[in-house]
């Protein structure tokens, strides 16, 4: 089963993303900030990471950089979940090693269609 790590500080967004993913048959693990996400990534392996950018404690960009330093996450797709459509944020994400991005507000079907591009 495809296992996805979902990192977002907003409970409702995280719940919705996880619900959407679970409804489509994915297994999800949640984290509420980058640090928690990183800790979970260190103790478990994932097929995909979906992370918000703006988070307390550790933001999504830093999380992405940290994950890429881990041998087991070298090739793992990492998608940034962001409302920021500006090219700047996307570039920062790419520079940090992100695979791509998902733009909030998300539509459940689109979310699933988009993540099928990487898993």
């Amino acid at each position: 089963m495809t296992k996805i790590l979902v990192v977002d500080d907003s409970n409702s967004i995280r719940d919705m993303v996880c619900f959407t993913l679970k409804s489509s048959g994915y297994e999800t693990v949640e984290a509420k900030d980058g640090q928690e996400g990183l800790n979970k990534a260190k103790t478990s392996s994932f097929d995909l990471v979906i992370s918000d950018v703006n988070m307390p404690i550790m933001d999504g960009i830093t999380l992405c950089q940290e994950l890429r330093k881990l041998p087991s996450f070298k090739f793992t797709p990492i998608l940034m979940l962001t409302t920021e459509s500006s090219g700047d944020m996307k570039q920062r994400g790419k520079a940090a090693g992100a695979t791509g991005w998902l733009v909030k507000p998300f539509n459940p079907d689109k979310l699933i269609a988009t993540i099928k591009r990487v898993v």
Partner: protein, 702 residues
């Protein structure tokens, strides 16, 4: 497949309100260069916008977008943080609250405040020193309308060698292309190095793809969106009228410099060709979320509280198994162990009860956190300088009590600002600091929680209150009242000593309502004031509405429960203090008070041990300043009882507020003290009338 997200609307709303509160309190504390605070405000706005967009609450999304843009400029240091902008943002928070409340109530929000604030925000953003404002989201409007004809696209995809190291896999890109239409994919392995030179983490293949589909170039580019910087991508339209290749804009330079590249592809006979047949996927239909269901009250509980419950539950199970083992072959030698086990059970139950009750408890900061904003607004409106001090914010209070105490507290705080704190000139004249202080403090005292609203203002003018009460006919001129009795007059309906009405604390309709609301919660309010020094309003509230501390009393064979909070004292009657006014009306002299005595056995028609006051115990209870002595046969234990409503199973009985189940399984009624005092007063009035009547008849017949 349809995924219905509407079940998440309530949690989105709850989270949004939390976010708004955080925005408000952070805005009030915002100072120049405080990055963490502005970041947290931005994050809150950002989450609300994201959630609202997902559910299609477009008015919230649009409005919040403006707010977010302004915050973003502040966050990036492109805009200085000035007081005026903070005011606009505070207004914006109010607007967002209105909008989200409208969603919660499923109504339309047409408040003009939103239009005004929107305009203000737009004006502010237009005058921004910002270099650029982020563009709005969504697809560009330039996308030409699609026609029905299939177009044959030719795509050259030459990924950089490190492409897979960011987690992108060409296979998935091809899958996505296949979802658009018919694809034919050919791989070109000419760049593949010798095995010894190959880095397994690099990608050496290139692809040529033909796509037959009714799509625009943008649709194709969208698929390659994530990799456009990590590949050479050339998209050419084949069957279009124009034959010129449309080159991906970011690639113009590169493609020109490498213009010979297509010719370098080796002949097909030498290259291993991988033809991928990719299943075409049907585009999924989107579905709109259905209307949110009626809101069910929810409560957020810290994980530690739940963990604690589970832990206690575990201990209870251990005790239970210990006791059942003991019961298997019990003999008298094990009585001691049985007692120890029962003791443990008692302990477990008590802890479990406390923990369960704690689930409903929230820190009082939930009720307090609206006050910084209120004070901010009020001090702007009145021109008074006020500092607000919050204490004991972590004191926990039942959720229901919390929700209902909010409005009375707001009223008391408004009063403190309006009537308590003096204008600056007056403060200076009285030798006080310019800045007035209002302190909100919450703490536990016995079984109740006390909320204090203290101001260092002028205090209550005793004489003004007294005169006003005289004028209103609440008291007569001969009354000699203690200070606290005078201050209690403030809570009389229609009482206001402010000479001019202000829109802050209204027209004196408030204080009696405040008192009623607090009493409805089983609480009481008390005023202390020193003229020239300030006033303190103390609100006493029960910790919870579901459990009360009760005094068990016996009348005949029945057991009743008197709420401990209402009891002034319990005493053995002294014959010399008993006064029979007339007939069966009895007054008991309690220091300077005459307390009417109400025999419970008469009230409920029971047989009791003692029918005379002299032989009974008296429990003096108080409500609303009225004291009544309840005649009982015996005082039993004091204990916490769980309140069960009578209405669900029986009917409302005068003088009884509910019932509870005692340790031995029997049912005991909880006495409704305000109701009983009412009965006593009615009785006293009847007496008076009867006496007057009988007096009249005596006069008529000399």
């Amino acid at each position: 497949m349809s995924i219905d997200l509407s079940q998440f609307i309530p949690s989105f709303l709850e989270e949004s309100f939390e976010g708004l509160e955080l925005m408000e309190s952070s805005l009030l504390n915002l100072e120049q260069g405080d990055d963490e605070t502005i970041n947290s405000i931005f994050r809150a706005a950002h989450s609300i916008k994201g959630g609202a967009g997902t559910f299609g609450f477009n008015n919230v999304t649009e409005f919040t977008h403006l707010v977010e843009t302004l915050l973003d400029e502040m966050r990036d240091g492109r805009r200085e943080i000035v007081q005026n902008d903070i005011e606009i943002l505070l207004d914006s928070v109010d607007c967002m609250k209105l909008l989200i409340e409208a969603i919660k109530n499923e109504t339309e929000c047409n408040d003009e405040k939103i239009d005004i604030t929107t305009k203000l925000l737009e004006e502010t953003l237009n005058t921004s020193q910002a270099l650029s404002t982020p563009t709005s989201e969504g697809q560009s409007a330039e996308t030409p309308a699609p026609s029905d004809a299939l177009i044959e696209w030719s795509i050259e995809f030459v990924p950089d060698h490190h492409l897979v190291q960011t987690g992108n896999d060409p296979q998935f890109l091809f899958n996505a292309l296949a979802a658009l239409g018919e694809v034919n994919i050919e791989a070109n392995a000419s760049d593949l190095p010798a095995l010894s030179e190959m880095d397994p983490e690099e990608l050496y293949l290139q692809w040529h793809i033909t796509l037959l589909a009714n799509v625009t170039e943008d649709d194709i580019k969208e698929i390659f969106e994530w990799v456009e910087d990590e590949c050479k991508l050339t998209i050419t339209k084949k069957t279009a009228t124009e034959t010129a290749p449309i080159v991906s804009s970011s690639e113009v330079n590169k493609t020109n410099s490498d213009s010979q590249q297509p010719e370098q592809i080796p002949t097909p006979s030498e290259e291993p060709v991988a033809k991928s047949e990719v299943k075409s996927m049907k585009p999924e239909s989107t579905n709109k979320p259905v209307k949110a269901k009626a809101e069910v009250g929810s409560i957020r509980v810290g994980v530690d509280k739940v963990d604690n419950l589970i832990n206690l539950m575990g201990e209870l199970v251990i005790t239970q198994s210990m006791l059942s083992e003991l019961g298997n072959d019990f003999d008298l030698s094990k009585v001691e162990r049985l007692n120890a086990g029962l003791e443990q059970l008692l302990q477990n139950t008590k802890e479990l009860q406390e923990s369960v009750m704690r689930i409903r408890m929230l820190p009082i900061s939930f009720a307090f956190n609206r006050f910084p904003r209120l004070i901010h607004d009020l001090s702007k409106k009145t021109g008074k300088q006020i500092e607000l001090i919050l204490k004991g914010e972590q004191t926990e209070l039942d959720k229901t009590v919390m929700e209902q105490i909010g409005d009375p507290l707001v009223h008391l705080v408004r009063n403190a600002v309006d009537h308590g704190i003096e204008p600056v000139e007056k403060r200076i004249a009285n030798g006080k600091s310019e800045q007035g202080t209002i302190t909100l403090n919450a703490y536990h005292q016995g079984g109740s929680i006390v909320i204090e609203i203290n101001d260092d203002g002028g205090g209550i003018n005793r004489k003004a209150v007294f005169d006003k009460a005289l004028e209103k006919g609440v008291i007569d001129g001969s009354s000699s009242l203690t200070d606290s009795q005078v201050f209690d007059l403030l809570f009389e309906p229609g009482f206001s000593t402010a000479k001019e009405l202000s829109d802050i604390s209204g027209r004196g309709v408030g204080m009696d309502v405040v008192k009623k609301n607090i009493q409805a919660l089983g609480g009481r309010i008390q005023v202390e004031s020193v003229e020239g020094k300030g006033s303190t309003f103390k609100v006493y509230l029960p910790l919870t509405l579901a459990i009360l501390d009760g005094q068990l009393v016996r009348v005949g064979t029945e057991i009743y429960i008197i709420p401990l909070i209402t009891i002034v004292e319990s005493l053995q009657t002294q014959a010399e203090s008993i006064n029979r006014v007339s007939g069966d009306m009895v007054l008991y002299r309690l220091r300077e008070d005459n307390v009417p005595v109400l025999p419970i056995y008469q009230l409920f028609g029971l047989e009791s041990d003692a029918t005379q006051v002299e032989d009974s115990l008296l429990v003096v209870v108080e409500d609303d300043g009225q004291k009544v002595g309840l005649m009982v046969d015996d005082l039993l234990a004091q204990q916490q009882v769980v309140i069960k409503s009578l209405n669900e199973n029986y009917q409302q009985v005068e003088g009884v507020s509910g019932a509870t189940i005692l340790g031995d399984g029997s049912v005991a009624m909880i006495l409704d003290i305000p109701g009983i005092i009412n009965i006593a007063q009615k009785k006293a009035r009847n007496h008076k009338n009867n006496n007057i009547n009988s007096a009249n008849t005596e006069e008529v017949t000399p």
